[in-house]
Symmetry: C2
Subunit: 141 residues, 2 copies
DNA sequence: GTATTTGCAAACCCTTTGCATTCGT
DNA sequence: ACGAATGCAAAGGGTTTGCAAATAC
């Protein structure tokens, strides 16, 4: 089995787990996202470029719609860092991120170390849905 | 002195502290932001509406340009919560926020209590510019 | 065969910009 | 007067949507 075939099989299994039809485009995008078993933080544009670079073709609108579908299905989570676009993270739990301001890149921050103490109580009638933590990095001058 | 006059005076002093020319529009927006001495989290649209409601008129483009100028001057900080827009916060230090998802509103979270333990070290050659913490609230069902 | 998905282009929303006019000093 | 700020309308960038053609089951 080639690594490409393994990636594809992983992508298909990942889609199947969410009851999403394995169309050609979805399998391609899924294999680019989870094909090597590593966590990824992608933008729609990056994923579209990667898809095109792989030889196949997918329209940018489909990349957007598919990422939306993956998000709705709980396969990825959407992260917003600044107003200019979204990142989609294949790691699903609530964990902190590094944002490399100079490169516009997002990565996981070593979460095992970080913890928050004394998280404020949610106001009456409210639940804490999620705690977004983004550590902004800038090149040391 | 009426409260309106006090607000205006506060706005003017605030602008003066950043060497920004006290134009009619800037004084109006500044007084809406800091006129009562309380911290605010506003969107461009909210501020524009508030300005119009006060009787004066300012174009939306000027509200955007002015908020940008205030941000550049260090009078407010920009906070992004989701891709749909920016909030501008008159409180300048690095502190956590509540985001009321149902209302699209941002407010300060009781920061005195919260603290982060074991913040990951910044990678080599990088400085931590800022740590954004947004606690997303949802109505309890 | 039927419902879903895709692709394209147009629409959208928030934000910025170009340029002539007005304002602050 | 001079440079800076304003307003309008147009452009911009990322994302979504309408609808016809293609695809999955």
């Amino acid at each position: 089995m080639t690594t490409t075939e393994i990636s594809k099989a992983r992508g298909e299994a990942w889609l199947a787990g969410a009851d999403l039809r394995p169309t050609r485009q979805r399998v391609l995008l899924a294999s680019l996202l989870v094909g090597d078993g590593r966590d990824r933080h992608v933008t729609a544009e990056w994923l579209h470029d990667a898809a095109c670079a792989s030889g196949d073709k997918v329209s940018l609108a489909t990349v957007y719609n598919t990422l939306r579908a993956f998000t709705d299905a709980g396969l990825v989570q959407e992260i917003t860092v600044d107003g200019t676009g979204s990142y989609f993270d294949t790691k699903l739990d609530d964990h902190p991120h590094f944002y490399w301001e100079d490169e516009g890149r997002l990565s996981d921050a070593g979460s095992e170390a970080l913890q928050i103490v004394n998280l404020p109580d949610a106001p009456d009638g409210m639940d804490i849905a999620k705690v977004d933590i983004v550590i902004r990095l800038r090149a040391k001058r």
